[in-house]
Symmetry: C2
Subunit: 391 residues, 2 copies
Amino acid sequence: MKLIEGGICAVRGVKANGIKQGKNGLAIIVADAHRLASAGVFTRNKVIAAPLVVTKEALMNRELKAVIANSGCANAFTGEKGILDARWMAALLAKKLNCVENEIGVASTGVIGRYLDKDWIEEHIDEVLNRISDSKQAGKACARAIMTTDTMMKEVAVELGNGVHIGGIAKGSGMIEPNMGTMLAFLYTDAALSKETLSSCLKKAIDKSFNMVVVDGDTSTNDMALLTATGYQECEEEVFQEGLDLVCISLAKMIAKDGEGATRLIEVGVKGARTEDDARAAAKAIVRSPLVKTAIFGKDPNWGRVVAAVGYSGAEVEQDKISLKFSDNKNEAKLVDSGRIVEGKLGALKSIMESREIVIEVALGLGEHEATAWGCDLTYDYVKINAMYTT
Amino acid sequence: MKLIEGGICAVRGVKANGIKQGKNGLAIIVADAHRLASAGVFTRNKVIAAPLVVTKEALMNRELKAVIANSGCANAFTGEKGILDARWMAALLAKKLNCVENEIGVASTGVIGRYLDKDWIEEHIDEVLNRISDSKQAGKACARAIMTTDTMMKEVAVELGNGVHIGGIAKGSGMIEPNMGTMLAFLYTDAALSKETLSSCLKKAIDKSFNMVVVDGDTSTNDMALLTATGYQECEEEVFQEGLDLVCISLAKMIAKDGEGATRLIEVGVKGARTEDDARAAAKAIVRSPLVKTAIFGKDPNWGRVVAAVGYSGAEVEQDKISLKFSDNKNEAKLVDSGRIVEGKLGALKSIMESREIVIEVALGLGEHEATAWGCDLTYDYVKINAMYTT
């Protein structure tokens, strides 16, 4: 398995493009398939945005021949009108592509509680469709079109040993604590896999990747990940799962690193937990903690906050069995060994705090389960970006 | 029932004082009782600080004749040495007061993972003890001595219709999402009530007050609320409960208002919930949301974030039954009526956003239960304070 260029357009049969004008963006992805199959995972927020309702319906009835996504307006909490608007988006693209509405996935991201700017979408859809292609540039334009407060475009592609390709794009920077679904992620493969296999692989990959990212702990109303297979090539499920995991984890880390205002990527590994749920809860509590996040922003070696977060995470914990280590690519500082403070390590910790990528490892000493979570620091710029989002 | 001056020293039999020197502080409260009874409530964080272990033990065996509290060091995650140090603090004061160790409550607040500065405490204990008195000034000095990042001293006292007094002091500004316990709060009354009654009243009052405050969602290792009765006057339980609720809610609001870096107090009322737990979960999710908190800091009328927080709170929610209103003391803006956006209200909302105290009311339209929570905005100064806490 190797990383390759091209994002979703590295996948056979996939064409895309997009435009971004100010806060508005429009992206379209078309899958020209040998044998089409699609799966999706959606937010667990009970306030579910209209496009998710429409896309779920589509997935129950058909496979997704194409996806249309806009940025700037989330079309969330918009009632029946919102549903009609999302269906209108699907119908608009379906007509252009000469297919049925249920073959179109619809996604939106942006401000909640505002109606869709249908005129803008109608005015720009042909511009995007006319430029649809399988070039790298087209894939990048598509990935850029779904960005909101993101500062970097997020795409990745891998080629498996058997020649199968998996590519994905994602957006996400704030309102990030996916639960079951995720920000927006559109994943493609040219493997020939059934809808059931795609669905099962997608859930597993998301649990290890997007569901382990916290920027601010706010689960969005619009989180959605779609996986579509164009079916050109046979592929064993295990091989595919491994590739899909890598694609999703890569995108998840890009989202954590590009968290609103972030200056540092934080990776937290928890091992020795009694259960997998415990390991996940402890790892996520640490990357979610505003106190851990501000300490890392300020390079403050205040490691006690990590231990406090483990304590309130809900995971089974025995104080005198906890071990704690900070590291970067070069150095490490073991701060706690089975509940005992290791003296004289604050100097080493301070120098690690200078790094752009900080790894925190917690060993609970209670069992065999482990989990990894990703997040970012909490900075002045996070506050600035979110204090003036709609104005 | 009326609010009176004097804090804990308004309560018959209570004397106190304290000193604060740089980051270190030492507070002592002595209860000269007719009939002494004490109760306590402690953090649910599984990493429990040493002083809490020692104070819990004391409460199981005796009533608290006095409390000694230091600020600057939390004596948390300090293992067996931490426990010995906390016992040492209790023994030190017990010797001075000629009582047993189990009659002393011990509390600490400050940095986690550092050992207590015993020398500093030993050097300053006589200075505090020599000035112990029941004057208002002494009460205020005591309240000031337990402050860390707090910018205002927190004390309150009430006189019930029957002549009974209840007074309290508290500290807390960051690492604030109490669960069951609270920051540090020391509550006194001259009512004659049993330990069981005190304990039951304290739990009820805390559920309505400290447990409904969120500054940053980090539950501390050191949260503790102690309630001691000096027993000079008979008092019906219901009358006492009403007074204790007021004292605790007043202190809780002071903590929310004095959240690290805060410029605004946020009060969130949720009604129409199917269960009380649902009402509490929804109210706390809103005051906990970094996106709601930054929007209020930036006076950004981005109310969709409130609805999103309700949706992921875990409470039972039906989108088309949600109503939402923002208000301050002068104006109100009804933004959502049973799931429908009320157009033309953003101007009114913007002017409300200028106020120092913002009230958010959510009606879920599903039942009869309600809850109120308090929080503050998330500002540049929260980041600044916490990025450089130990350095």
